[in-house]
Point group: C2
Chain length 191, copies 2
């Protein structure tokens, strides 16, 4: 079944903000959509080629020799609207932390606690980032009609980070009773 490339949606979406080179596109996707989306060069180049062939984007002289800036066309905008309306294809879950915790008895309590503390610290860093970002965007784009939409995505990130912090504390408490069983953990050889 279709298994439509979601890359197309992200690329057209980014170009709908303003024209860019492929390189800048990658940067924009990483910096702006990075909280909930990612694309690799390996996808971006072929996708831009296909979109050009279909007339959804046009290639213009880039900022230097051999460089191209891509501009979205009217048909590209229509195509974007079409793609955004397609049903969401859920990404299959792949959470390495939970996989390790599930087999925590094999991994050892100590290492589990370590992983949880790391995850919590990461989430705290992210949380600070989201809070700063929300303030910055709210000020800079005060009158943009895009603002409320962007704020919903930032809020998702912020809440998710808060959630991880609270969960990590609960998980640490759940593992609190388990004795630090020296038989299980740390096989010296790996890493």
């Amino acid at each position: 079944m279709a298994r439509r490339s979601q890359t197309e949606t992200a690329v057209l979406g980014a170009l709908s903000m303003h024209p860019m080179t492929a390189y800048a596109l990658r940067e924009a996707i990483r910096d702006v959509l990075g909280h909930f989306w990612s694309e690799s060069f390996g996808q971006i180049y072929p996708t831009l080629g296909a979109l050009e062939r279909q007339g959804h984007v046009e290639r213009r002289e880039g900022p230097r020799s051999g460089s191209s800036t891509f501009v979205i066309t009217d048909s590209g905008t229509a195509r974007l609207r079409e793609l955004l309306n397609e049903p969401i294809t859920a990404a299959p879950p792949r959470n390495g932390l939970l996989l390790r915790l599930f087999f925590g008895r094999t991994l050892g309590v100590r290492k589990c606690r370590e992983l949880l503390l790391e995850a919590k610290a990461d989430a705290e860093r992210n949380l600070a980032g989201y809070e700063g970002l929300a303030r910055k965007i709210s000020a800079e784009e005060k009158d943009s009609p895009d603002l409320p939409y962007v704020l919903t995505t930032i809020s998702a990130g912020r809440r998710s980070a808060e959630n991880v912090i609270a969960w990590a504390d609960e998980a640490l408490a759940l593992l609190g009773d388990i004795p630090a069983d020296d038989t299980t953990p740390t096989n010296g050889e790996s890493s």
Copy 2:
């Protein structure tokens, strides 16, 4: 860089619970780890072959002709411990809902609200599932040393579902001010 196959970890982990056929393995991963992990047949068969060649699993007579049951070996258990100790490779984010909301002005407020309501309903279904699962596992595995570990993963799912519900409400409120503008997707492209 290594780009270690995470499939190996999940397969060995599942087999560490008890011997299974490849088919049952897929079922087990879907039903037991399904909240945070997924594997496809396309990965499971080649991985089992490779693990057999390395002596980490052994192939036994299966429940019927041509069928094989796989058993984890001692070296397989050691390998699992090694893999669990490797650093977590984070899955690149790919959230189709947030991608659509980010470009919400192009998609239209109405559709955004629809998507949010769907997401909330999904989360409510999931939440009920997690709560039931936590009760069931707590009772059935009351004395299992694995229980606290499993409970941390279920709690992650439950909290995540609760989080989506609260976020969806906030997002709907954020979009509340925007007029329903049926013609919304103005391709004026001014932006």
